[in-house]
Amino acid sequence: MQLSLHRLVPIPLKNKIDLKGSAIWKEEITFKENEHVFVRAPSGTGKTTLVHILYNMRTDYEGTVQWGTETLTGIDSDTLSQLRTKKLSIIFQDMRLFPELSTWENLDIKRRLTHTVTLEEVDSWLERLGIRDKKDALARTLSYGEQQRVAIIRALLQPFEWLLMDEPFSHLDHANIDKARKLIIEVVEKHKAGMILADLDENNYFPYTQTLVL
């Protein structure tokens, strides 16, 4: 499934973009299957807005977003859920865990949607990212760094053709970034999926096929 953006522009940013210019906003862009795209987005250029638009969490934009044959404008809720469970996964910048659930429950509620990953695998991933001892801790008691690692694992618990990442490592130190990065690469390759990572600064977390400045 390829991603096509056709003259996309978020309405709140419209005037600003007119002045500044962008490699994505208002452009015709197509990302082919399993491309690794890095979107460098300085503060205030609409990085999170872009990710949210791609994941259909915002609809206040002009232009169109097309995932494969599916256009997001006016997509019905069941098709959207199918897209989100089978083809498109996301790591939110603000993690978005259920604060009242434990680490394990946060992962299990996602895992049980598709059963793509076994309980043992989840367990080993927790171990790899160093948060296995937090399994039964409520999400609201976790540090940002821990929450971010739970969010990363959660995003990998479903089949996907594209993985969207919005500053996925913002709360992690180098050692933990490296562990998370390796896990992500491994799963992305397993699914032969593409990825779009949006971040503030240059990085070489992944072998990008293209870099765009928002």
């Binding site: 809720s77 859920s81 989100r84 978005r96 009242e100 659930l101 429950e105 509620i109 049980r112 949607l113």
Partner: protein
């Protein structure tokens, strides 16, 4: 849906349901009372109808069989041809919607002389009548006669016995008679005159509350009129009709329009019926009102629960749960409560019906122990409406 998944969803979406338990109970109790009242209102209407339209012969208020004759006015006096029913009139009457069956009372057209020996000794000329067996309220076992039989069964109107016991016997100092003692007395019927005279032993085999007459089997009347009569068939002036619902206004109107009379006492049910209809309707309106309020509070409760869980709901949708899946989950959580209230109402309705049936049994009236299909239909429709309101509210709130 898996159990673990259900548990987590319950925690997320219904976690603090306990906080407003009182409201939930209030809603459920209102719903339950509303549903019960609705069932009761249908049951009041249905039971009254059952009493009026009993299918057997002794199961109703006794009002389904009416004896009909033409009103004898001053102008009609001395002109018996004006008080008889022509075949056309009988046919027309039988075709009116309320009338289920019409029977003709045939009287004897031959001389009949009854005499009794012993201490009660009396002798009198009298009349007997025949009516098709299906119009007799309690058919005695030995209710048959064929030419050649010397024994003749007789059914006496219980009113005649009352007239004798409380009127004649008291005034003349004669012994009062019980129904069983009457049954043991043989009455001699001397039938016919001149060349053809026969004697029969008549026995009272039963009493009728329905037909004010002295009844003998139809076969005896037919035989007698042919054998001892003058051969002229005379039309009847009295009909017995089986009526679906004697309190029906159209039926009462028909009788008035054609100048027919009946035991007006038996039409008193049209008044009772009006009252029952008002009671039933009032209960029904109250029931609908209560059910409406109950449903509203229940739906508001559901919406409140969903609104409280809005953050979790949004996030669930973001990680891939579809609104229809979540809607089904919510419906599966709330519908058992609805079905529980419906079940409680149904149990109350059955209990009330059983108790009512036992109570009226003492009055020699038969009512079914289980409410009829109309009651269940009302329950089914109200539950379906309630359920669709609730599932629509949930679907809307989850979307």
């Amino acid at each position: 849906m898996e159990k673990k998944q259900k548990l987590i969803l319950r925690k997320l979406l219904l976690g603090d349901r306990t906080k407003s338990k009182a409201r939930l109970w209030a809603a459920l109790i209102a719903l339950c009372i509303g549903t019960t009242l609705l069932l009761l209102s249908v049951m009041i209407w249905w039971n009254f109808r059952e009493l009026l339209q009993g299918k057997g012969s002794s199961d109703s208020l006794g009002s389904t069989f009416l004896s009909i004759s033409k009103k004898i006015t001053d102008a009609k006096m001395g002109r018996p041809e004006l008080t008889i029913f022509s075949p056309e009139e009988i046919n027309a009457f039988a075709k009116t919607p309320q009338v289920q069956d019409v029977g003709v009372l045939t009287s004897n057209h031959f001389p009949l002389y009854a005499s009794l020996g012993g201490s009660l000794g009396f002798a009198t000329e009298m009349f007997v009548e025949g009516v098709p067996d299906r119009f007799i309220d309690k058919l005695p076992d030995d209710w048959h006669w064929q030419p050649g039989d010397r024994m003749l069964p007789v059914i006496l109107s219980s009113e005649f016995l009352n007239l004798y016991n409380y009127g004649f016997a008291v005034s003349r100092g004669l012994p009062q008679l019980s129904q069983t003692s009457i049954k043991s007395i043989a009455i001699n019927f001397k039938v016919g005159n001149g060349s053809r005279t026969d004697n029969y032993s008549a026995y009272v085999v039963g009493f009728s509350d329905r037909i004010s007459s002295v009844l003998v089997p139809q076969s005896f009347i037919d035989y007698g009129n042919k054998t001892y009569g003058n051969g002229i068939t005379i039309a009847s002036s009295r009909l017995v009709v089986k009526v679906k619902d004697p309190s029906d206004k159209a039926f009462v109107q028909y009788l008035q329009d054609h100048d027919y009379t009946t035991n007006s006492e038996q039409l008193r049910f049209s008044k009772i019926r009006a009252i029952v209809e008002v009671v039933s309707a009032a209960t029904g309106i109250l029931a609908l009102l209560l059910m409406g309020i109950g449903a509203l509070v229940f739906i508001l409760f559901i919406e409140l629960t969903i609104a409280r869980a809005q953050a979790a709901l949004t996030l669930l949708k973001e990680i891939g749960y579809s609104p229809s899946f979540l809607g089904k989950f919510m419906i599966s959580r709330f519908s058992p409560l609805v079905f529980l209230t419906v079940l409680v109402s149904a149990i109350i309705a059955i209990t009330v019906q059983t108790v009512a049936a036992m109570k009226v049994k003492d009055l020699f009236l038969n009512l079914p122990y289980i409410p009829g299909w109309q009651v269940w239909l009302a329950l089914l429709i109200s539950t379906a409406i309630l359920f669709s309101l609730i599932s629509r509210a949930i679907t809307r709130a989850v979307r």
